[in-house]
């Protein structure tokens, strides 16, 4: 079957970006950071929020602006279990209700502000965003990560940065096999996606690239052969990647988190976290060093994406070849988080599987790696 060739110029289409933000749990980073007894300012979901932990140990998220005269609660003070406004000392509880106005006999009616449900899991703080204002259903959650807090794994190494583009760009990477070769110096040899319910999975195997000169020991240490990655978005923004690096004679087991929360429709806060499992080949100190190295490496990977995102245009109608992944089906899955629960359709959540034929990409990339090596050899001979 051959498609009819068309002379028509392909137009890039992009609808205006909605300022509605995804329904779901969003990770704000390590929970510990918010337990210092001080209020924290977080810009998320197009709003300014205050995050604070009361004397009761519970971490709360409220709209930052005091309903009295609009003071910024995130510049205030934690007093007992409440956050006190810096402007007139009105006290707001984690449930969003004004508990006390020290200079007044009574709290007025309607003294209620927006409170966001929070959850602590895997030593991370999550906040629930829901444009319909509903509570999170019990079955919509983030899975427990086995290695977190265990003494045979490293502690979280966490990074965060602000990226000035719409968050859909980072989601698209779930299906984008080819960019791993061209942008990230990886070499995918197997690539499959599964979307089902609120989960979007990417299964990828790769081999090492001799032309990429990644600093993995400079030939001194054991040779890296490749990697296996099973990465799953649980909801619209939190990805857990079970990432195994295969070395000659052993495997390095790690968990990588790739998550974000939208600041507004044109920017998001991009986070990475990593833990590495200790092993005979990788005792505690070596695992720490490896985690540090991987964290730096992941950050460099984000930078490579950011360079592209800074300059690219938003595109609703990407033109795909058969060796590309299921971009449209991924976006169909992603759409479920941007409509009311009642409007989520089976096509958004029904299981969809897509396995790429990597025959041609692998042939082409092997040739390219070979050429890169030859060119480098020639350059070195000349030098």
């Amino acid at each position: 079957m051959t498609a009819v060739e068309s002379d028509a110029i392909r137009r890039i289409e992009a609808e205006a970006i909605s300022s509605r933000f995804a329904r779901g749990w969003h990770c704000l980073g390590p929970a510990e950071k918010f337990k210092d007894g001080k209020p924290h300012t977080v810009h998320a979901f197009g709003q300014k929020l205050v995050v604070f932990t009361g004397g009761d140990g519970k971490t709360n998220v409220l709209d930052a602006y005091c309903r009295h005269m609009g003071g910024d609660l995130s510049q205030g003070t934690v007093k007992g279990d409440e956050i006190a406004c810096p402007f007139h000392d009105w006290r707001w509880g984690g449930d969003g209700r004004c508990k006390k106005i020290p200079y007044s006999r009574r709290v007025p009616l309607r003294a209620r502000t927006a409170a966001f449900p929070t959850m602590e899991k895997n030593q991370l703080l999550f906040v629930w965003n829901d444009p319909e204002g509903k509570q999170p259903p019990d079955d919509v959650t983030i899975p427990v990560i086995e290695g977190v807090g265990r003494d045979d794994w490293t502690q979280w190494r966490w990074t965060e940065q602000i990226v000035h583009t719409n968050a859909r760009e980072v989601i698209d990477n779930v299906v984008d096999m080819a960019h791993f070769f061209y942008i990230h110096n990886s070499f995918p040899t197997y690539f499959k996606n599964i979307f089902e319910g609120q989960t979007a999975i990417q299964i990828m195997k790769g081999k090492s690239r001799p032309d990429a000169r990644r600093d993995d020991g400079g030939g001194k240490g054991p040779r890296m052969l490749g990697n296996t990655s099973v990465a799953a978005y649980h909801g619209p923004s939190f990805m857990i990647d079970e990432l195994t690096y295969h070395y000659e004679g052993y495997d390095l087991t790690s968990i990588l988190i790739n998550c974000h929360y939208p600041i507004d429709e044109n920017s998001f806060s991009l986070h990475s976290g990593i833990i590495v499992q200790h092993s005979d080949k990788l005792p505690a100190a070596a695992a720490e060093a490896t985690a540090e190295k991987l964290s730096t490496f992941i950050l460099a990977g984000f930078q490579q994406d950011v360079e592209i995102w800074k300059n690219k245009t938003r595109i609703d109608n990407p033109l795909l070849c058969e060796e590309d992944g299921p971009v449209y089906q991924l976006r169909r899955w992603y759409e479920q988080f941007y409509v009311d629960v009642a409007d989520v359709t089976p096509e958004m959540t029904d299981r969809f599987e897509y396995e790429i034929d990597t025959t041609r990409p692998v042939e082409s990339w092997e040739r390219e790696v070979e050429e890169n090596l030859k060119r480098r050899e020639a350059e070195e001979a000349r030098a």
């Binding site: 079957m1 498609a3 609808e15 599964i194 089902e196 999975i201 299964i203 099973v230 609703d316 109608n317 033109l319 795909l320 058969e322 299921p326 971009v327 449209y328 089906q329 976006r331 169909r332 759409e335 089976p346 096509e347 958004m348 029904d350 299981r351 969809f352 599987e353 897509y354 396995e355 790429i356 034929d357 990597t358 025959t359």
Partner: protein, 92 residues
């Protein structure tokens, strides 16, 4: 707005394939012998015996059914340049 994957229009659509070990009927498409797209329905996923055990895998029985449908021509393998596994002489 949800847009259609134009590859389904330009290359070929997803077509029904029925599993022979359970009642599952899915939509499948093969751009080449090594590429497979599978669109499940909730009913098909509920009927499948293998999905529960390994949600990351593709059900082996269904995989065979799709392969057989491709060999029988019930679904078209779009890229004819890739080797047809039926011509690989593993039987003799």
């Amino acid at each position: 707005m949800i847009r259609e994957d134009e590859r389904l229009l330009d290359g070929g659509p997803l077509l029904p394939v029925r599993c022979r070990t359970c009642a599952a009927e899915v939509l499948a498409r093969k751009a080449s012998w090594e590429q497979t797209s599978i669109q499940w329905t909730a009913e098909a996923a509920a009927a499948c015996h293998e999905l529960g055990a390994d949600p990351l895998g593709t059900c082996g029985a269904l995989r065979s059914a799709i392969q057989e449908a491709a060999l029988a021509g019930t679904i078209t393998v779009l890229d004819e340049h890739t080797p047809d596994p039926s011509t690989i002489p593993h039987d003799h």
